[in-house]
Structures are given as C-alpha cells and as structure tokens.
Symmetry: C2
Subunit: 431 residues, 2 copies
C-alpha cells in the first residue's frame, strides 16, 4: 500500500518527540500499518537540537506548504489560540486531516473546528490533548461506546499533582515545591495555566463533551486552583482519611451537566488517591462497564508524542480505507451534539473542609458555628490549633451542605473581625 505523508507544524517538546518516534519506530509502525508513515515536510521556527539531523532537507519556510497535494495528514503542535486555529481551519479547508495536542484551542473552539472538519470530510485526532500518553479519548469514543458514560473523575495536570505529592513527601510549602518543580522542569516559568486549574479545565471540557454528547467549553467549567493549599491542609486531610488532589469532575445528572475543577479531598482507598507525582489518571463510570481507570504520564515529549502518532496511524488507516470520519469527531454525530444546561456549583451538595484563620481568643468558635448553623450547615468536626501566635487555624468539617449556603455563610463570617487571613475551602468527594 502507498505510504501516507505527514506535514508537521512545530518542533518543540512534543514535536521533537513525534520526529523521534516516526524515525526510531518507523519499522514497527510500518509493520503494524502495512504501509509507511513518511514525515515529508516540517515547518517550525525552532527545532530541538536532538532531532535537527532528522528534519534536515524537509524544512519548509511557509506553513502553507504543509497543505500541498503530497501531504495527507497535518500535525499541529505550536499550541496557543489564534495562529493555531487559523492553521487548523486552513488545513481542514485544504482537505487535510489534522492531529493536535492543543487542549486550550479545542476547549474554546473545538466545536467550530470539528464542524469544519465534518463539512470537509476529514478527521481531527486529539488523543494527545487530554492526559498525554493515556489513551482516554479512544477509550471514551470507542472502547466504552456501548455505555452511557455517567461520570468522569480525573487528575489531568501533572504539575499540580507533582506539587501536591512533593509537599507531602518533603513536608514543604507550596511555593518552595513550586520553585523546585520549576527548576526541575516539572513546572513552567509561568505556572498559571497549571496551578490555577485552567489546563485541567480545558481537558475536562474536551473529555466531558465527548462523554455526554455536549458542546462543553472552558467557560462551562467551574475552576479553582491549588495555590492556597498549605502543608497543614495536607496533614489534616490525611488524618481525616483523605488525599488532596486537583480533581476534574464531570457528571451527567438529570439531563444537566456538572463539570468542575477544584482541589478535592479524595478518600485514601480511592484509585485516584494513590496517583502520585507527575502521573495522571482518569476514572470513568459507565452504566454497563462500571468503573474503569486509566493511568499514565500526562505530559512529556515522548508519552504525548506516542498519542500523536497513534492518532496519525488511525487516520492513515482511514485514508487508506477511504473511511474518513469512521468514528464521529465528537463521539456522537453533529446533529446529536447539544448544549445542555450546566449545573451552577451553588446548587450542589457535598461535605466541606474549611480552614479559617482566626483570632486566638475565646468565643470564636461560637460565632463561626452560629453563622454556619443559621445557614443550615451542620458541623461534623472541629479542630482548633494552638499556634501560640496572633491567629490560629480553625478547621471545620461539615456534613453534607449546599454550596450556596456555604458561600453565604463564608460571606457573613468574613465580615467578622476575628478573621485574620484568607479562608480555604476544600470540597470533599465522598461518592
């Protein structure tokens, strides 16, 4: 069978991994496919040193050359919004199937890009956009396709998980561990996207869309990050039987969608609690297959590139068998993909961990518990620490309460002059 030709835009971290895999594993890829995958043209401002010799002679100056007739599949690995979006839409209009790892773009403009691909009868592969080397997109779109997917719970940001793991392991504070992670290359110089939960929200928007058959975008995902987690919270979480994880949660409840990312206390015996360091994990609950969990490296050059090349192989098969759009781009056909209501987090009910920073004085607990009670919040336990300083942490664990009531109570409590610093709220996953 004729070879399938690839055009690659961007030879950064993931791009260089793709170049390496297409070269180093060319033989096994050809054996599995029955034909060759040929990296034909590469467009990139910078090229990692270790793959320079592999792209010699195939570099092109203009990205439009990737749309030439001799290219079958285009890989977009430049990231970002505007340029990447225009590039992808251009590629699609030129009848090229596209493979991408660009979660930010798909979480914002996925529906538009997929629609354009559908019109042009080309595929878009995005396995690498969610949880790097973990094949969660294929699992949702194909392996679990006989099921109604009910719920996804996921650790999909390796940086946050690394930081939370190291805080516990080293008994160190957030900022110290972040600095260390940045030095080791586990965190970006500007860690905003990761530590503020934005990257996780992108991945939850994509994975929940294809699980439920909805067009869920980044804006739909309630998002909180991990910056305010202290070592103290990790310690008390452990004493209460929990691990703190930045969890992505997506649930379909009564034809409405609950989708959010926030620090969450996960029971120690939950499969997600044992996911450590830079590992990612996704737990999918289905009506028939029950729980399945997928674990692996969520980032890194080669694991992510492995997912990119798997997509390229899949699409190459579709090209050779003249079966484009063999699997619906969003797992469901376009005329089925809806935009159902997103449940406001204020409407949810769960248990809460609240750490107040209060005056070390008599009567504090009475004031706080009074306001909580007035807001229909029942307290499960309280720990008041004596730090011997001006202010002390007061930790409250609640029984099941409505988020709206919690927020109202916090609003009232924060007006009290006994409150000396920011309050930390961690939601508890007790399902």
């Amino acid at each position: 069978m004729k070879q399938v030709n690839i055009g690659l835009l961007g030879v950064g971290t993931v791009g260089s991994g793709v170049v390496k895999i297409l070269n180093d594993n060319a033989e096994i890829i050809k054996k599995r496919l029955g034909f060759e995958l040929k990296l034909k043209k590469v467009c990139s401002k910078i090229v990692h040193d270790d793959v320079k010799h592999l792209v010699d002679g195939i570099m092109v100056d203009s990205y439009e050359e990737l749309f030439d007739d001799d290219i079958d599949i285009v890989i977009e690995l430049v990231g970002g919004y505007d340029f990447a979006k225009n590039f992808m839409l251009d590629a699609i209009s030129n009848k090229k199937s596209v493979v991408t790892a660009n979660k930010a773009l798909l979480a914002r403009h996925g529906y538009e890009i997929f629609s354009r691909a559908f019109e042009n009868k080309v595929d878009v592969g995005y396995e690498a956009a969610v949880a790097g080397g973990i094949p969660i997109i294929k699992a949702i779109k194909e392996s679990l396709s006989a099921n109604n997917i009910q719920c996804i719970k996921a650790i999909v940001n390796g940086t946050c998980n690394y930081i939370l793991t190291e805080m516990e392991r080293k008994q160190a504070g957030f900022n110290d561990v972040l600095k260390d992670a940045q030095e080791k290359g586990f965190a970006e110089a500007d860690p905003t996207f990761d530590v503020d939960g934005i990257d996780s929200a992108h991945k939850m928007a994509i994975s929940s869309s294809i699980s439920f058959g909805d067009n869920i975008t980044e804006k739909d995902v309630f998002t909180e990050g991990v910056r305010d987690i202290s070592l103290l919270d990790i310690k008390y979480a452990s004493e209460f039987g929990y691990k703190i994880k930045l969890l992505g949660i997506a649930r379909l409840i009564d034809d409405k969608i609950d989708v959010r990312v926030h620090p969450t206390m996960v029971k120690k015996d939950d499969a997600l609690a044992s996911i450590e360091g830079e590992y990612n994990a996704i737990k999918v609950k289905c009506d028939m297959a029950d729980d399945t969990v997928y674990v692996g490296k969520g980032a890194g050059s080669l694991p992510t590139a492995s997912a990119v090349v798997a997509d390229v192989m899949d699409i190459a098969r579709n090209i050779r068998h003249s079966s484009p759009l063999r699997i619906p781009l969003m797992s469901f056909p376009f005329n089925y993909v809806r935009k159902r209501n997103i449940i406001d987090i204020n409407e949810l009910e769960m248990d809460y961990y609240i750490r107040f920073s209060v005056d070390d004085s008599v009567g504090v607990l009475s004031k706080i518990s009074g306001i909580l009670g007035n807001n229909n919040i029942s307290i499960k336990s309280v720990i008041q620490l004596n730090k011997g300083e001006d202010w002390v942490p007061l930790i409250v664990l609640t029984h099941k309460a409505k988020e709206k009531n919690i927020q109202n109570a916090l609003h009232e409590i924060h007006k009290l002059d006994i409150i000396k610093d920011k309050t930390l709220l961690i939601r508890i996953d007790d399902e």
Copy 2:
C-alpha cells in the same frame, strides 16, 4: 445506513449481558454508530430468566442458522474448546466476523482461528477475552501502536485477587475465603482454572502475543497458582513492604520471551499493589509512552458484555466502510507473527521469599543456609518463628539468585529430615 445484524450463540452470564446492553442501550449505540445493531438470531440451550422476554421470537434451534445471509456478525459466548472452535471456524468460513470472550480457546488455537479469519477477510473481536471490561486489547493494538511494547505486568484473575484481598482483610486462611467466595459467586464451584493460574495464563498468552508479535500459547506460559499462600505469607510480605498478587508477567528480553504467571511479591508503592478485590489491572511498559495502567472489572456479566458490544460496534463499522481487517488480527500482519524462543524460568534471576516448615531444633538454619550458600544463593534476611509446636516456619529472603540454583537448593533441602511440610516459594518483583 443499513442496520448490522447480529447472531448470538450462548445466553449465559456474558450472553445475557450482551442481550441486555443491545436492548437497553440501543439508542445510544445507534447514535454513536449512525446505524442500528440488531440482534437477529439467538441460539442457546439455556437462557437467563431476566432476558427471556428480549429473545422471544428470535431463538433458533440450530447454530448453523446464525450463518444465514441475514447475519453480519456472530458472537460466540459458549466457552470451552472443541464445539466453540468448530463453531468459530464454521462461522468464519461462512464469511461471518466473530466476536468472542473465549480466552481458553484463543490461548490454545488463536493462531489457527485468526489465520482462517485472515484468509476469509473477516474480523475476530476478542476484547472481552482479556480482563473483561478493561479495554486492554484495543490499547495494545491501537493506542500504543507507535511503541515497542517491552513488558506487561497484570492482575487478570479477579477470583484470585479477591481471595488474596479478603485473606488480608479478614485475617483468614485460603480455604475459608475460597469457600466464602464460592458462596458469594466470586469463585466457581470448581475453582481450578482460576486459583491454579490457568485462566491468567490464557490471558497472558493472548496479550503477550499481540504485544510482541509472536504466537504465544498457553503451553508457553510458566504457571503457578495461589493455593499454597497462607495468611502468614501475606503478613510477612506486608512487613517486608510487599503485597502478594497473582501476577502475569510478559517481557521481551534480547529477542526472547519471558512469560509467566505466579504468586509475586509486588512493592507496596507499585500501582498493581493497590488493586483490590475483584478488580483487574494491566500495566504496559512501552519505549515511548512509558508506563500506562488500565484498571477495571475483569469479569461479570455487564462489564464483559460491554467489551463484547464495543467489538461488535467496531466490526460493524468495518462492515459498513468495507474495511475488514482494518487492524491486523494479531496486531501485526500474519507474515510477521513469529514464534521466538521462550526463556526457561530456570534461566531467570530475581529475589525470592522462601517459607520452609522445619523442625523446631538447633542447627536447622545452619543446614539450610549452608545448602543455599553452596548453590550461590545469598541470604538477605531470615525469620525463624517460634510457634511452640513440632514444626515452625522459617522464612528466608534471598538476594538476587538464579531460579535454577534456587530449585537445586530446594531439591537438596527437601531431602533433609528437618523439613516437615511443603515449602512455599514466592518470587519478588523488584523492577
């Protein structure tokens, strides 16, 4: 698009799950596929009560009717060897694609069945044959296809894992827990296939074949079961930092294959150590994607049926797109599938846990350690328990030793009159 018609042989545990899913989830299946999956004919001696109303009017007396022109895909769920094999070969010769959960058959005659399917240009789906609801076959054949798979470590028998978990949880002996598991339906009346490791060996033969591109059969898999594990072993494993699991291991080493199933001490921080109860898990190590782990229910009516129906959907797409054999049946093309040498376990080197049952007398340790030393086995630690009875357990942990030397030493030691009962050997996974 025209509907795809299904013929089903066998409405037992898994078969009734398939009937239920095809009925209950008909709508979502049709939405994802763009056409209907229609259960057209069913042949079965017995039919579970809860799905009787769903197969009314489509029961046929002779299985040959499943090969009629109006059937596109045949599902084989009767299990066993001869009848199932003949049925599948007949179906294939009649140009029907087949979906099966029959691990025993595929581990023995897979190559013959796949060859016949290849000749007849039809597909064989067997996702349900390995680890039930966990989509490990698709992960190996498609998601990881840009990789050289180096190693698989797997818990693929829920019965054994349930027994080992319950022994620890209830502090109970093997036989008590087995009996309890049988009463609860977690173990068969005749548990041989499960507790002696045979079922796990079948699954390892199948998954290692498609990982490495070899024709590995049940006979190639060194197999030991869990019958001799005692509560004492579980306790000491824990003290040494391990969990005892019935582990399937398949590795490609210097172009030879190491494939085996035996009780194994797994480090507590290994992802496989935390897999409890009836859950299964497979860890796949690849050259590019690194480690990925897949966890879920390895048995049960609906999880296994979910995998069967996913295969049916996959093959139905191939039928509608006229792309049979889109993915090579054994992950590699037939002209590539080889039969490389299997490494004799005697040639392997690892750490060992050995529990001797010895006379409670002076000089015993000296005799045993002398023989171990003469066989080049170096001892890491020894625990001699004082039970106050005729004989006592003597536990030896070795440094890395050659299996052949261990077996030679045990052979010598067993000739001593200080040995009062069977010796238990557990291999340690320290990678």
